[in-house]
């Protein structure tokens, strides 16, 4: 690693040590304890770290190279695209996540850099597998850039070898230039005792579109923040998420649909099903700035409470600074429809089967219209978890 790189990491480490815990009244950390990330155990890694397994194979990188895309580790990309990488490494998640972001900036290894060149349309999804091996802390980092008119589908999956006590703080960034179309799948399938933080910032330029689907299944504690900025006119985003919790799992997710320019649209469908003592906390912001006239934003959060000890907290927020907009949000929380259950029972379904069918049906709208290859990946994941 170059001296310059080390200096940057050292600076981040100093920042990390300086950043204190969030104040007790912090709304962001009110329902999830940052202590679970055991950040006090961290040490500054030193000059010769062992990189984790690459999230992609060499063949994959070659295949993409011939298709007009560049798939490298972030470390390799630093010399070829210093500007882009430097921008990716600038802190962007805000004061609430400062400690985690600084820990990541000081400690990340390998990382992913994916650039799809102008006009290139990839047919097959690019799968990035961040696999945690052995106990300890993991700091994935990922940058995806689509140039003008490019189209791609990216899967960022977080998996594990099953070792106990894994803690992760992943930071991802996606930029879609003019008229680019990005489909992004983020799946979290970590062990039931893992602790995971995920922050993603997506920037959409003129006419760009993003379809983002999150599948959240694992971890003892999961906290994520997805910040979508519709920066230029005509940008569109659609966010969906499917969350399945059981045992004592705790999920705390934040999304932001931030409209900065006119004629932008966003939609969000967030569906959770919670069993046993699982808990979901969801906070969704729609913010429409003054110049973003003629924009439309929608958000809906539906929670299925499958046991009397499950709990859902939902806070949909609207901050609207101009009137020429259409904006709606909705949230529900409740058990399975007893009439539907009765109907299925009368058709010969066993109670468990009936519940399973209804839950899959409940998740359907979040999985609708997905490209076949993605649906084929995601459905089995959900069915297996049920």
């Amino acid at each position: 690693m170059s001296a310059e790189r080390i200096a940057v990491r050292s600076a981040a480490w100093e920042e990390f040590k300086r950043a204190g815990p969030p104040p007790p009244a912090s709304e962001t950390w009110r329902r999830t304890d940052l202590a679970a990330w055991r950040l006090e155990e961290l040490e500054f890694p030193g000059a010769s770290p062992i990189p984790p397994a690459a999230p992609f194979s060499a063949q994959e990188a070659q295949r993409l190279a011939s298709a007009g895309a560049e798939l490298l580790t972030l470390e390799e990309a630093a010399s070829r695209h210093p500007g882009l990488v430097a921008e990716c490494l600038a802190p962007c998640s805000g004061p609430d996540y400062r400690r985690l972001e600084m820990a990541n900036l000081a400690s990340w290894r390998g990382g992913v850099f994916l650039r799809i060149a102008r006009g290139v349309r990839l047919q097959e999804p690019v799968v990035l597998t961040f696999r945690q091996a052995g106990p300890g802390h993991f700091f994935p980092r990922c940058l995806v850039v689509l140039e003008e008119g490019a189209e791609a589908s990216v899967v960022e999956e977080h998996v594990s070898d099953g070792a106990k006590g894994q803690v992760s703080a992943a930071f991802s960034r996606a930029v879609a230039a003019q008229d680019a179309r990005l489909q992004y799948f983020y799946t979290q399938e970590l062990p039931k005792d893992a602790v995971h933080f995920f922050h993603q910032r997506a920037e959409l330029k003129r006419g760009a579109s993003l379809l983002h689907t999150g599948i959240l299944l694992g971890g003892a504690k999961h906290k994520s923040a997805l910040d979508v900025e519709l920066q230029e006119p005509g940008a569109r985003s659609e966010i969906r998420a499917v969350l399945l919790g059981s045992g004592r799992q705790h999920f705390d997710a934040y999304t932001a649909q931030h409209h900065c320019a006119p004629r932008t649209t966003s939609d969000l469908l967030y569906r959770t099903a919670l069993r046993e003592r699982a808990r979901s906390v969801y906070t969704g912001l729609i913010r429409i700035e003054g110049p973003a006239a003629e924009s439309e934003a929608y958000q809906s959060n539906h929670n299925l409470l499958l046991s009397e000890t499950a709990r859902a907290d939902t806070t949909p927020i609207l901050e609207i600074l101009t009137n020429a907009v259409r904006c709606k949000h909705g949230a529900t929380a409740g058990p399975l429809d007893s009439e539907a259950l009765f109907y299925l029972a009368s058709r010969g379904f066993e109670p468990k089967e009936a519940a399973r069918s209804l839950i899959l049906g409940f998740f359907e709208p979040a999985l609708a219209d997905l490209p076949k290859s993605s649906a084929e990946r995601l459905r089995p994941l959900i069915e297996a978890a049920l």
Binding site: T309, P316, N323
Partner: protein, 471 residues
């Protein structure tokens, strides 16, 4: 409306609400707030020792608590606590008939459009001028039913046992800084006790005014509806326009015992220099039903979140809130529904409009505790932004922990649809009138819950706001 009709409305309003009476006070505490002033207030009122101690402890709490910092609270940093008058006593005592009320106070209420003839339609009127209740008239019917309707000071004097039993059990002084302030310097407000089974068929009303420059209004209202009783209480507020700011920090506690029904209606139209900070909370016991109907048109900043705690099986709550924010105004309103018992249900409807740079915020909480099974809740908040400078924020939170709970929430923010306007204008309406009609329609769910005089008055106030002739 023709230009002349609008001009007439404006003049009428200025005379009707914008007048100031020269101060004629019997006692005016010096500026600022300390233990001596609080003790003086208690002494002047001839209160029992326990109330004086309660006030002094609350003063300690007020001084110790920091100013709240959430949401729009930093805007309250401009309140100059040391430079307010916390107590003004305008006359020698409470009169029993209209004739005994001092002339200038009578004039105030004549001007407010509350002629003596209204007594035929309304069960009782308590008028609060400055800090003391000055006129009180309770119809024989109420007395026969055993209904107690007094100002809070008289309530404490004449029914100390009932008051002591319930006072501050719904809003303790430590609840927030302004509840602590109110607990220390409260004066006036209404005390209502409705005995078991009594149904009060006509609404009980009260009017409040702030007249003196830089004075505070700290009324404390306590309403207890005993088992299977029912009562409807209405308050309307107004204040003249002044350069210096005024503070209104009130506390309202409602207790609906088993099977009781309380409806509490407010139309707030404080002038645009008033900070209106109110803690309104109700406790609904088994099978009880509580309704808050809350309209906010005036004030510089209003922060008010009527709440219902459903603590008994089968209790119900409805909160209906409407807010209008014009230039320079902030209406930060909403409501809270807390479900702590099984088979409970509630609805919350909030409608708000902002214009000319006004800001509305909706802040709501729906909380369902684990012991609350078979609960149904629905929340709907809609905001209409009439122009580009205005702003709307919505912060609803739902914490759902019960079993067989159905919660639904919907919110929307928009402007008046072009198609809607086009349609109305194509029917011959001028644009202003078309907008006014849409606005009225938007508030209809709220207006239809008001007694007729209030609905008419609400319409007129909104017309004036729309013309930008107020504040």
């Amino acid at each position: 409306m023709s230009a002349k009709e609008i001009a007439d409305l404006k003049d009428d309003y200025r005379t009707k609400y914008g007048f100031k009476d020269p101060e004629q006070c019997v006692f005016k505490a010096r500026k600022g707030l300390d233990r001596d002033i609080v003790s003086d207030i208690s002494r002047m009122k001839g209160e029992p020792e326990w109330m004086r101690d309660f006030r002094l402890k609350a003063l300690d709490t007020f001084l110790a608590k920091p100013m709240p910092q959430w949401g729009n609270c930093p805007a309250l940093g401009q309140i100059d606590f040391a430079n307010l008058y916390y107590y003004l006593k305008p006359s020698e005592g409470s009169a029993k008939s209209w004739d005994d009320v001092p002339e200038y106070i009578k004039n105030t209420f004549e001007k407010l459009g509350i002629p003596e003839a209204e007594r035929k339609f309304l069960a009782g009127v308590t008028a609060q001028y400055e800090s003391e209740a000055v006129y009180h008239h309770v119809q024989k019917q109420l007395t026969d039913q055993g209904v107690i309707f007094l100002d809070m000071d008289s309530g404490l004097r004449e029914h100390p046992d009932i008051v002591r039993r319930y006072f501050s059990t719904v809003v303790p002084p430590q609840d927030n800084k302004f509840a602590a302030l109110n607990s220390a310097v409260w004066s006036g407000g209404s005390f209502i006790y409705v005995p078991k089974g009594a149904k009060v068929t006509m609404p009980l009303q009260a009017y409040f005014r702030i007249n003196a420059e830089r004075s505070g209004q700290f009324e404390r209202t306590l309403i207890i509806a005993d088992e299977d009783s029912s009562v409807h209480y209405i308050e309307g507020c107004t204040a003249p326009v002044y350069a210096a700011d005024s503070l209104h920090a009130a506390v309202v506690e409602l207790i609906a015992l088993k099977g009781a029904h309380i409806r509490y209606t407010t139309i707030q139209n404080w002038s645009n220099n008033v900070y209106n900070l109110v803690t309104k909370r109700a406790q609904a016991h088994e099978g009880a039903f509580v309704e808050w109907v809350d309209g906010n048109i005036g004030s510089k900043i209003t922060m008010k979140f009527p709440s219902v705690y459903l603590v008994g099986r089968g209790a119900r709550a409805d909160i209906l809130s409407c807010a209008f924010a014009g230039k320079g105004q902030l209406q930060d309103t909403g409501g809270k529904l807390i479900f702590a018992a099984p088979n409970t249900s509630g609805t919350l409807i909030s409608k708000s409009i902002s214009k000319g740079g006004g800001r509305v915020a909706y802040r709501g909480l729906v909380k369902v505790y684990p012991q609350a099974k078979d609960v149904k809740v629905s929340v709907r908040c809609d905001a209409l932004l009439l122009d580009e400078q205005s702003r709307s924020d919505t912060y609803p939170t739902m914490e759902i922990d019960g079993e067989r709970v159905q919660v639904g929430h919907e919110a929307s923010v928009s402007k008046i649809g072009d198609e809607q306007l086009f349609y109305l204008m194509s029917r011959g309406l001028k644009e202003n009138d078309a907008v006014a009609m849409v606005v009225n329609g938007f508030f209809e769910a709220f207006a239809k819950e008001l007694p007729l005089e209030y609905a008419v008055e609400l319409n007129r106030l909104i017309q004036l706001e729309m013309e930008g002739s107020v504040g």
